[in-house]
Point group: D2
Chain length 367, copies 4
Amino acid sequence: MSINSFGHLFRVTTWGESHGPSLGATVDGCPPGIDVDPELLQYWLDQRKPGQSKYTTQRREADEVEILSGVFEGKTTGTPVQLMIRNTDQRSKDYGDIAEKFRPGHADITYWLKYGIRDYRGGGRSSARETAARVAAGGLARAALATLAPEVQIRGYMTRIGPHGIDRERFDAAQISENPFFCPDADAADSWADYLDGLRKSGNSVGAVIEVVAKGVPAGLGAPVYGKLDTDLAAAMMSINAVKGVEIGEGMNAACLTGEENADEIFLGNDGKPMFSSNHAGGILGGISSGQDIVVRFAVKPTSSILKTRQTITKSGEATEIITKGRHDPCVGIRAVPVGEAMMACVILDHLLLHRGQVGDAGGKIG
Amino acid sequence: MSINSFGHLFRVTTWGESHGPSLGATVDGCPPGIDVDPELLQYWLDQRKPGQSKYTTQRREADEVEILSGVFEGKTTGTPVQLMIRNTDQRSKDYGDIAEKFRPGHADITYWLKYGIRDYRGGGRSSARETAARVAAGGLARAALATLAPEVQIRGYMTRIGPHGIDRERFDAAQISENPFFCPDADAADSWADYLDGLRKSGNSVGAVIEVVAKGVPAGLGAPVYGKLDTDLAAAMMSINAVKGVEIGEGMNAACLTGEENADEIFLGNDGKPMFSSNHAGGILGGISSGQDIVVRFAVKPTSSILKTRQTITKSGEATEIITKGRHDPCVGIRAVPVGEAMMACVILDHLLLHRGQVGDAGGKIG
Amino acid sequence: MSINSFGHLFRVTTWGESHGPSLGATVDGCPPGIDVDPELLQYWLDQRKPGQSKYTTQRREADEVEILSGVFEGKTTGTPVQLMIRNTDQRSKDYGDIAEKFRPGHADITYWLKYGIRDYRGGGRSSARETAARVAAGGLARAALATLAPEVQIRGYMTRIGPHGIDRERFDAAQISENPFFCPDADAADSWADYLDGLRKSGNSVGAVIEVVAKGVPAGLGAPVYGKLDTDLAAAMMSINAVKGVEIGEGMNAACLTGEENADEIFLGNDGKPMFSSNHAGGILGGISSGQDIVVRFAVKPTSSILKTRQTITKSGEATEIITKGRHDPCVGIRAVPVGEAMMACVILDHLLLHRGQVGDAGGKIG
Amino acid sequence: MSINSFGHLFRVTTWGESHGPSLGATVDGCPPGIDVDPELLQYWLDQRKPGQSKYTTQRREADEVEILSGVFEGKTTGTPVQLMIRNTDQRSKDYGDIAEKFRPGHADITYWLKYGIRDYRGGGRSSARETAARVAAGGLARAALATLAPEVQIRGYMTRIGPHGIDRERFDAAQISENPFFCPDADAADSWADYLDGLRKSGNSVGAVIEVVAKGVPAGLGAPVYGKLDTDLAAAMMSINAVKGVEIGEGMNAACLTGEENADEIFLGNDGKPMFSSNHAGGILGGISSGQDIVVRFAVKPTSSILKTRQTITKSGEATEIITKGRHDPCVGIRAVPVGEAMMACVILDHLLLHRGQVGDAGGKIG
């Protein structure tokens, strides 16, 4: 019952703090014989690397991932894979202010209340830096999926920054890699740039919504009733720093629909597999994948470390004010996109293995 | 790695199908010496019992809970508690239609695709009837909380049915038990009654939003980073039948806020504990409770079993139509209120025990 | 982390006390589509049923197993299987003596020290009666093995009672079912009968050694390094009441061998699979099955409930004497034979599923 | 369900191969506020370090442990502790022979059959080198015990090498650190030296028995019925490389005792705690510690890598001979002593935390 682990059979344990010597992911249960291309792992890490645009933190980290175990002559051996990333830009600065004061909206105060000790440097374990380890593990999961279920394609993007949502009519997947926001709507990306420029200059921050879609996921994945695919996805996404809401398919809006509206009607496709008239379900029925696209959305709250003055208290209980200088993301949601993709990859692979173990090829056919 | 279990130390495994002889919850890890009042357990079960108003299914179930183990002379012994509920109203009817056709929006098709066999009677394991076992386990969790953390108070209620939300200005906790909808807004309850009457007569159904609040939860509960309190709450709620979205505090709306708006400022209360100017966080920071109210919301999709004609296919792959007769909830969200409360109770107790084990009394103080 | 559960994917949780209304096993993770023959399940239970000879307790229990969930039209559905056994012979007697005094060598005192409460009736949860639930679960595991790995054959027998061991030269598997001791050596069975008669009349008890062999287990099962096949077998056997030692292959005697003696030399069989010159390893190398017979032995201590007078104390701390009347096994090891078989079946099935999930068909071939 | 992890709340995941860049232990669930003295950690590692006498492998490893996370200003923070050890003496030699041939008695063949790929260099993951990570984790467990239960004292020693056992009459704890065998009997140590000299020169190896005793363990630890203290100890010890048997207290010999002989009679000590007339139970009754010394013994088989010629096959299935040159332990049991101690420390701490979480201070008193 490691509480820094997730996954059933593909089991990821992350470790490390923002300003320690290194951090990483201990991945247990990766199947043997998977080709691991270090450059591809690095590619995924580069997606969330800080300092790539003016819209993310200016901390400079190479985020180079080192494979310390579990891979032999380019292939996984079935033993634990240790993925380590060194911290290189722990700026030697005075942390006195954060050490004594609690940032409103931040984990500072709850880590203190829980543990009676905290590594306050850069947020310690509660830093979004922990997500680098998730992305490394996600890269390994993708490598395994490439072998075991090559039809699976995972793509994340932002659909909202603060008050500005995308227009679904303008959705263009090709745009996602063309702007610093992973935004599939070129017009929205432009307005986000303006909006974030203003926020950044005023020392403020803002929240965001990320959507992650997995195409090509075979039907039958998910283990009812407490290891449902949506249950595990909800946990995976909610565990990401600053996430406050998770939706599958229609999400919260499902409350507004009637049964008639919500029911995705079923047809038989030319490939002998079920087809659906719509995807309100987000690809999951009864906790099990239906073969449709898996659609997950999550909301990231605004970064708590801002230049705005806020009321708070010190460890000694004295009332005070705080403004947080330093290098912070005006919209930490941006870098949450590759993290959401990584979590999706881990969960899908995990359930693929779990299904293989529990059910094998006993699944039903249509026709 | 039981996939029909949840919880770390207070570990609940539910079992049973809608139309089998019985169903129940095997609860492992309940602390010893807890007073268990069978009438109180029954009280909670009666809250979700079907057939109590015309707005829920007319299936008649006594839902009497039997304690088969783990309790001796009225107290828990620290050994597994088996809570069993017999199914009494499995109407002897022809299930042929459901046996062959897949209901759109229902788990019928995915259970088939996954397992190659399904107990189609009443939905089998995917039936909302499984939630009776959760409520029984939740009753036990409440009993343990009454001893170990008596200040914890858990209350759930509906905030939306279809297009009709409550008005927060009219929120009155005393109203919750005064209408068949667990609605804290008397006016909304009236309009819901009218709205559901219409839906029911037309054979349609509708979704809903439930909010569950836990007051008096001590600061420090939650185990970062993959056993966070919000992570486990998200999983717990998403595992409930028909849930499509889960929110903590501001939830999806957090995406729309700036850092300045979202930061709950901190003050020192007269009791020496932190106080906050607002509760955008829903009582959880960095995955750890802050001492504020824990606020969780989830959306339940409309019941899939409706009298409206929908297109579907048979197991043999033939196109056909389906309408689902029988006794179904026009708004299954109503009975999800006590289920959400039960899950909240289980998660809070579980994290109380987990914190006691992992951290003990090492937690920090203010001042 | 249910501590009344064992298994990774085939996950068994037992519940119930000696003198409660019933006890049972909640089995999660049994693959779907397995034929379950209730008479065969009952057959296994009858093997350990008390009161079948004068050498076991005279408590009369029908030990009828009821399947409450997870089986539909004779086949498993992939959902939890609840196996319940009612307690029928809880003789209404005065337990006052056991309630106040601690039996030397028994769990009475440690349950009290741990939990501060105990169901003293018949030993409560610590009673060997709990093993009935294991045998029921083991019966289900055997059913799954019959489908998934029909070549697996599991057989247990006694090799020692007190000072009297079997003679391996006289080993005859056909004898095992021909005497009340599961003894493969007819001569030893005769001498055991005499020896136990004497012990029983004097109110004493004695220990035993049980050996369980699994033939036909495919190579490759076992998950190094903390889910090794031998690790899980050791845990499974040590968890049985009164077990004090567990051995694989040579067991403790391995300490006396040289590397030259111990090395099972390897050849290629006609079937293209490895053959070995001997089986010091007990079929397991590096925690993984080699294809040879899996050989496990365990020692069961003598029953603590004896008619001999022993010194002890009361709950109040007063020095006193105790003799335990009632219906007890003079050699509880006898009924441990079917329990050991059941645990073997559960562990083998569990690792079969685990291997299928983690590794699939990536395993290596010779040649 | 990480299969390279052990422990419930103090959860250790080891990773790494014999000849990879490094190996280590990811320790999750260490309580916060524990003083961690790197020199003390190193002290424990030095106990099992190879190359310290001519009786262990001549591989030269500094075995320096680096703390990469979870410790801040000398204290644990409650977050995962990463303990890494670099491999420095991976001699660049030709592994061709081991790569193609399977060593009899070794995991070579089963890793191949299971995974279809193996890091054959030095045994890869199956190397006893993995135990360095256990010792590091055990050092952390000892540090936590020093704070939480300072009365606990753990000591391991050898009681047998091959045919030569110690004489219990000559047991002298002070001798354990005075010879290269952790032998409490000075005379036996002398004869072992002679015996091993002979074996080593002839290129042979031999097995051993190790006994580990924990004094001062509070009564009440152990979680029946599948997380019993003896169950977890059996698993912990059996998971160590080359272990073939595990005993608690009387162990296998319990089979030879009568109930009268085996029952440890109970008295009340001057401290108000129970005292026992003997310790056949090895300090554990019903899976729960009684307050007596916890006594565990395990047998280690002889090293499989020997200079003696043995028959085997190649990956291609050809019959061949093998002798294993290189640097190997003539008696790998010697270095298993600190490993057994480490496992004991981890299990005791784990159950201390588990008991604290599940039961708190509800335990019973005598008198």
